[in-house]
């Protein structure tokens, strides 16, 4: 699994001329990093004197962020795997009409999956921006810049994932599917910008 690689090796694998891991896995990695940084601020607040009033909020944030961290870490691989599935579908036989039809269907299905994985990453990243705003606003102020780092990582994840959704939509012929995903991608992109602004305004730096 990519997430079992050392940071050094993951970076070397990204830098290589292999098509994966690339931007899509990097988006999932940044969303997982956003979750980790948000958890960190919550952990540095839970049980501290002076923060009793927000203790329950911080525990809820930490639990949600931890759940997202695990699923987004798995998405680092899911994104690269979905790309591999597209290549695999293209390699299917196309000698007969039946083979051609089956191949086209497999290719289309693979592209849909390759669009849905980054869409999920973008959704998770945007929801992490809300958690990031909460820890910046209510958490231990000594760790506020770690919360801001989380929001910035989530915004990188959301924007990159939206690009990857759109790239895959270009190869998908199902217009209903396309229109729905395009609309959600546009919305998530706009929300990422708005939520970043909202959260970083809280930083007096």
């Amino acid at each position: 699994m990519l997430a079992d690689l050392s940071i050094k090796d993951y970076l070397a694998k990204t830098a290589s001329g292999d098509p994966v891991p690339g931007g899509g896995s990097s988006a999932a990695l940044n969303a997982a990093l956003a979750a980790a940084l948000t958890e960190m601020v919550a952990q540095l607040t839970i049980g501290r004197k002076g923060f009793e009033a927000v203790d329950a909020d911080m525990r809820a944030v930490a639990a949600k962020a931890a759940g997202l961290r695990f699923s987004l870490t798995a998405d680092v691989d899911r994104d690269s795997d979905s790309y591999a599935q597209v290549l695999k579908a293209f390699q299917r036989p196309k000698a007969t009409e039946a083979e051609k039809a089956a191949r086209t269907e497999a290719v289309q299905e693979a592209f849909k999956q390759a669009a849905l994985v980054p869409l999920g990453v973008a959704r998770a990243a945007v929801s992490l921006m809300d958690l990031g705003r909460i820890v910046i606003a209510k958490g231990n102020p000594n760790a506020a810049s770690d919360g801001a780092a989380g929001v910035l990582a989530a915004r990188m994840a959301a924007r990159t994932a939206v690009y990857n959704v759109r790239i895959n939509l270009r190869s998908i012929k199902d217009e209903t599917f396309n229109a729905e995903l395009r609309r959600e991608a546009d919305r998530l992109e706009a929300e990422a910008e708005a939520k970043e602004r909202e959260a970083l305004t809280l930083m007096q730096l």
Copy 2:
């Protein structure tokens, strides 16, 4: 070393209630990721038919980005270490006037180092945005979104690193040092926004 940890373990260590690794190391990690993604696009362009005219440019970009990837990977640790040095300086004895003076000097020196490390990360991240623009504009268009992911990662790194510079400046009493770093941090922050806009405008997505 942090960069020898698996991605999973690095994320778990970030999520924990330890003050490092936090936003500063995450900024260095994202700058290194930006370097890797930029290299990737260059590698997917070098030697390809139809890209002969930009081959030398792509080789130059790949070499520069690889150099930055290695130094920025080391900065993941340097950032966390510089924070540890601040804590260590605070633990120095302060029983006598001489001890107090030596401690104050050590604390000030440690804060300066803790400001200079993220300043270097922000500088490198901004310079990577220029390389990112080049690979998006001239590189293999099939990998343009990986170049855009690199620019987005570099912008996360620059913005986060600038926050970390400013936080450390609050504890530094040398006004000349402060004014100089504050000016450069402000400039890098503005450049990161401008260069991101410039690079992403090239994306027709």
